[in-house]
């Protein structure tokens, strides 16, 4: 019984951290059809920001939930202005440019921060379920992700800003004809996506450690999850993370983490073979 509870908590944690890692990418790709290959580096920058801010004496929760998203948001805003803005509608060019950006950010981080693992220890300690020990911090990540997803849903569904974002996503030219500036919407979207990626890096920093190349570990999984989710940003994110995260964790429990990751990717390949437009291309089509 305890084992089942621990397994369920572990699945919840895997699904949440996967959703968290994908959120920034899902927002930017879903809203703007921009494939941001520097997504992993936004995560890395969020991680470094958290480590440095915490080492500078800022409480760790503030570093993670406020400082890191804010700093990466500013970086994202500048990158949108300088690079991405000039390439809208040119998917291949955007991919090349953001890939270059990714290499640049890795190089710059290696030069500035060195190639060793910077780390902070996870706060909050642990609790026990029967004979098993569960990290409170992992459950904290589950809670933050849940709040974040609900917050995004409410924002998109019920606010003026959300309405403008959804309309622009569906038909940017028509939105412009109604007096909405698509370039402003894109700027806000990209900045918000960067902030989400920064938050993901911040929350994962105590668990994985921070190195300049850490983004590579996340970017492939994030992409395949977002593609598997399909068109509806939030529902796609939740359903694909839920499915692939569960497959990955269950396989990991039965075998090893490496086989777990392979199983996750294999499940995504099968999924996309039968649902080429992703989960929300077939199901939940009315959702956001």
């Amino acid at each position: 019984m305890d084992y089942v509870i621990v397994l369920i908590l572990q699945i919840l944690f895997s699904v949440s951290s996967l959703a968290l890692v994908c959120a920034g990418l899902a927002v930017i790709f879903g809203m703007m059809r921009v494939i941001n290959l520097a997504h992993g580096e936004f995560i890395m920058l969020g991680g470094f920001t958290t480590v440095f801010a915490t080492q500078a004496g800022i409480p760790i929760v503030v570093s993670m939930l406020v400082v890191a998203p804010a700093i990466v948001a500013v970086i994202g805003f500048v990158i949108e202005r300088l690079v991405v803005r000039h390439l809208y509608g040119r998917m291949i060019d955007t991919m090349l440019a953001t890939w270059g950006l990714s290499l640049l950010l890795i190089g710059a981080a290696t030069m500035l921060f060195g190639n060793s693992v910077a780390g902070i220890s996870a706060p909050f300690g642990s609790f026990t379920v029967g004979q098993y020990r569960v990290s409170v911090y992992e459950m904290f990540i589950v809670a933050v992700t849940l709040v974040l997803l609900i917050g995004c849903y409410l924002l998109l569904r019920f606010t003026r800003l959300g309405l403008i974002a959804r309309g622009t996503m569906q038909n940017s030219e028509m939105a412009a004809s109604l007096g909405i500036s698509p370039s402003k919407v894109y700027s806000v979207t990209f900045t918000a996506g960067a902030a989400l990626s920064g938050l993901a890096g911040a929350l994962l920093a105590p668990l994985s450690g921070v190195v300049p190349t850490m983004g590579k570990a996340y970017v492939a999984k994030a992409f395949i999850t977002v593609i598997s989710g399909g068109e509806a940003i939030l529902t796609g994110l939740v359903s694909a993370s839920g499915l692939l995260g569960s497959v990955g964790t269950l396989t990991t429990f039965a075998t090893t983490p490496v086989v777990g990751d392979a199983a996750l990717l294999f499940a995504a390949i099968i999924l996309l073979r039968f649902l080429p437009n992703g989960i929300t291309g077939r199901f939940f089509r009315r959702s956001i």
Partner: protein
């Protein structure tokens, strides 16, 4: 009719406008003026540049030469959203309803820059057919319902000038009549001006103060609406 129209102050003035898609020229020097509270129809075959003209006036396509002036101000270099906020409305071909937004949201998104209280309630008085559909998604409406919604949505931004691209295309006759009656109402009651691009002769004749015939990227001829009733003349200019 055309003389009296020219005495009114000009709302829109298009001079020597050229443009097209990429390097392919489609508009070869268009001159067009629209007065306050005037309804101008543009008649022409497919491929003569009617839609290109409206898209260029709206700013979705860059003009390669000539100018567009609105209320005496040169807006040739303006972005579409700026033109929209200045009071130019656009009902594009195919209606371009936001498919995943509800009918109500389609209206709300058009009104985001418009502070007028009770605006949507007033619009629904003008479009009673939309009232029972408010919660439906835009994408599931019939063509006629979508066209009415597209008009209502355009009006939600309180435009002074509306560019209409083939509003009767693929619409059942009963709704065409309703649209015609609504447009007349908006012209007389709200004083809105219109540029209508259309192939439906009866519709364009019933609404327009002046009719321009467009051929090969130019305005070939100006006709009075009565002249459209003459089949020989139409044969000559439009070949419809």
């Amino acid at each position: 009719m055309s003389i009296s129209a020219k005495q009114q102050p000009e709302l829109l003035k298009v001079s020597g406008l050229t443009g097209g898609y990429g390097k392919i020229p489609i508009l070869l020097g268009i001159d067009l003026s629209v007065g306050e509270n005037e309804f101008v129809g543009i008649l022409g075959h497919n491929g003569m540049g009617k839609t290109t003209l409206l898209r260029t006036i709206m700013g979705h396509l860059k003009a390669t030469g000539g100018s567009v002036a609105y209320r005496g101000q040169d807006i040739t270099g303006w972005k579409p959203e700026r033109r929209a906020r200045a009071g130019i409305g656009y009902v594009p071909q195919g209606r371009q309803i936001f498919p995943a937004l509800s009918v109500l949201e389609n209206l709300q998104i058009a009104a985001v820059n418009n502070g007028e209280k009770g605006l949507i309630e007033r619009l629904l008085e003008d479009f009673p057919r939309l009232k029972p559909l408010l919660d439906r998604r835009g994408g599931v409406l019939s063509g006629g319902e979508q066209q009415l919604l597209a008009l209502a949505r355009c009006l939600a931004a309180s435009p002074k000038l509306i560019l209409l691209d083939e509003p009767t295309e693929g619409i059942q006759p009963s709704i065409i009549e309703e649209i015609q009656e609504r447009l007349t109402h908006f012209k007389t009651v709200y004083g809105i001006s219109f540029v209508l691009v259309e192939q439906n002769l009866e519709f364009i004749r019933g609404l327009s103060d002046r009719v321009m015939v467009m051929q090969k990227g130019q305005i070939a001829q100006e006709l009075s609406p009565e002249a459209i009733a003459d089949p020989d003349l139409i044969e000559e200019f439009v070949g419809l």
